[in-house]
């Protein structure tokens, strides 16, 4: 039982990093990415590759993964963010689909459909983290770090610029803000932190394949952010916990067809997204009501 809970907490924490980093661009910059799982995947595959071919050291594998994710996101964001918001949605959807093909085809790096097996345990200063609770501490520390970084960013001039762009792009432009640079920077920061979650995931699972980095994952993380509440610190974490606990909770309901739990879960969060947008666009954790007539 403790093993089950431990596992769940680690996974919730990893997904909480994903939702927190996605919230940074959705909730504060107003950028909609359907490619979050791509950067998660780049982080995971790169860390696995470095761990198996170079060193399983946390401080080598993770930074390399973060840089790679940052560069990929830069290549996507810089052109796509010059133009209207819809372009980024389209480009990120395209990237997500392209990435799934790449992850399944590029056997040398990703192991193809079969994935990468036997990823060694991560080492911190030569100390291998083998026990699950070691890993739990590492994950929680990383989550806390990510939250702290984003919390800090949000309260600087950079964070204010992001929020101003989210609230009115044309007014931000008229105030002299180079919105392309600011938005691109936010996507690059978010993507590199996402790669951290990918690295943790690869080391924790010791096995990864393309299944974890498909559009469904991007959608799931987006649902976590939206259901929890965009533009808040707590919201995405609550969202991550809720949606990760949902399958377990559903399996207790014996009248549901157990083979369809996945579909039922998606129907629940899909409907939740629709209803929230109609009745409470700020999400579960939102500062008062958001979006009265402007």
């Amino acid at each position: 039982m403790t093993a089950y809970i431990l596992n769940l907490v680690v996974l919730i924490s990893i997904y909480a990093i994903l939702s927190t980093t996605l919230n940074f661009i959705i909730g504060y910059a107003g950028i909609f990415s359907l490619a979050h799982a791509v950067f998660f995947g780049i982080g995971a595959y790169t860390s696995a590759f470095v761990a198996m071919n170079l060193t399983p050291s946390f401080f080598v594998a993770i930074p390399i993964a973060m840089v790679l994710a940052a560069l990929t996101s830069l290549a996507l964001a810089l052109p796509a963010l010059r133009v209207r918001g819809e372009y980024f949605v389209a480009a990120s959807l395209g990237l997500q689909m392209l990435a799934v093909t790449l992850f399944s085809e590029w056997k040398g790096f990703t192991g193809g459909i079969g994935g990468v097996i036997g990823i060694p345990p991560v080492e911190i200063f030569g100390f291998a983290l083998v026990k699950p609770w070691h890993f739990l501490i590492l994950t929680l520390v990383c989550l806390a770090l990510v939250i702290a970084i984003i919390q800090r960013l949000v309260h600087t001039s950079f964070g204010r610029s992001l929020k101003s762009i989210r609230d009115s792009e044309s007014a931000a432009l008229a105030a002299g803000k180079n919105i392309t640079v600011i938005k691109t920077l936010s996507v690059v920061l978010s993507s590199s932190l996402t790669a951290l979650a990918g690295g943790l995931y690869a080391f924790y699972m010791a096995f990864i394949n393309v299944e974890s980095f498909m559009l469904a994952t991007s959608v799931l993380v987006m649902a976590m952010v939206i259901i929890g509440g965009t533009g808040t610190i707590l919201g995405p974490i609550v969202g991550a916990a809720l949606l990760m606990l949902l399958p377990g909770a559903l399996s207790y309901l014996s009248f549901l067809p157990q083979t369809e739990i996945g579909s039922i879960q998606q129907i629940i969060y899909g409907s939740a997204m629709v209803l929230l947008m109609i009745y409470r666009p700020g999400g579960i954790v939102s500062p008062k009501t958001r979006g009265e007539a402007a």
């Binding site: 001039s157 101003s164 044309s170 007014a171 432009l173 008229a174």
Partner: protein, 264 residues
């Protein structure tokens, strides 16, 4: 009909001596599909002069602003700021050269506090942080406090823009433009819908800013503004500049009055 290039009256509200031309608009044209929103408009905005753009709805006043600030690319024509062309420059570059504007539909940063709305306008440069360190930060905060004081928003500093009353939102627009440090302000109906009391405060604020050397161009329907604060009136109708001159001349022109009042 065309009354361009009328000599400016030097007995206007404030002493105007040598008036440098800040902004020069030449033969500007804007087509939306088949619709000619602006046709062959030329005008100058000179330092220290308050120009009011009047004309019926749909005359192209806001379109003209949008072309000056780079929010729209003109189909043809030229816009010059202090002798340099602004065409093809993105809005944020134009803004940093000293041209600020407000929007008819306000476009406040709705989910940020009043204080943040003002502060973020001052933080246009820099990537992840602002240059100048602590002393610059303190200076910014002091400026925010003074702007809050002057716009009567001191008690609302920590309220989100979306939770403000209508008049307060209008003053927040003014507060934001004050924070820009610009030489030229383009105000799009800044006083519309204000109650008499707020209107008085607004007029006082605008007068003191003009006295401080800000050049203003206002789109306004309110005749009181047209009469009381303008040095010059430009009359637009159906995308054409019908007249450009002293308030008296425009207001006493029966043809223009017919177009203006007939439409409304």
């Amino acid at each position: 009909m065309n009354m361009q290039n009328t000599a400016y009256d030097t007995t206007a509200a404030q002493p105007v001596t040598e008036q440098e031309t800040l902004l020069k608009v030449r033969n500007l044209q804007m087509d939306f599909g088949g619709l000619k929103a602006i046709q062959d408009v030329s005008m100058d905005l000179r330092a220290g002069i308050v120009t009011t753009l009047v004309g019926p709805n749909g005359a192209g006043k806001t379109t003209l602003f949008n072309m000056i600030t780079g929010h729209l690319k003109p189909t043809a024509g030229e816009v010059e700021w202090l002798g340099d062309s602004l065409l093809g420059k993105p809005p944020w570059k134009i803004a940093r050269q000293g041209i600020a504007r407000t929007f008819q539909d306000l476009r406040l940063f709705t989910h940020m506090t009043v204080e943040e709305n003002i502060l973020t306008v001052m933080e246009q440069g820099g990537w992840l942080w602002q240059s100048g360190g602590m002393s610059a930060k303190t200076a910014r905060q002091e400026r925010v406090a003074s702007i809050l004081e002057r716009t009567g928003l001191k008690d609302k500093a920590r309220v989100r823009a979306i939770d403000l009353a209508y008049a307060e939102r209008k003053f927040l627009c003014m507060a934001r433009i004050m924070a820009t440090d610009s030489r030229l302000w383009l105000l799009d109906e800044p006083a519309s819908g204000l109650d008499p009391n707020s209107y008085g405060l607004f007029l006082e604020l605008l007068r003191s800013e003009v006295a401080n050397g800000i050049t203003v161009c206002i789109i306004e329907h309110n005749l009181d503004i047209v009469v009381n604060i303008s040095d010059r009136i430009a009359f637009l109708d159906q995308g054409r500049l019908l007249a450009d001159g002293l308030p008296d001349e425009i207001l006493n022109n029966p043809e223009l009055a017919a177009i203006y009042f007939g439409e409304r």
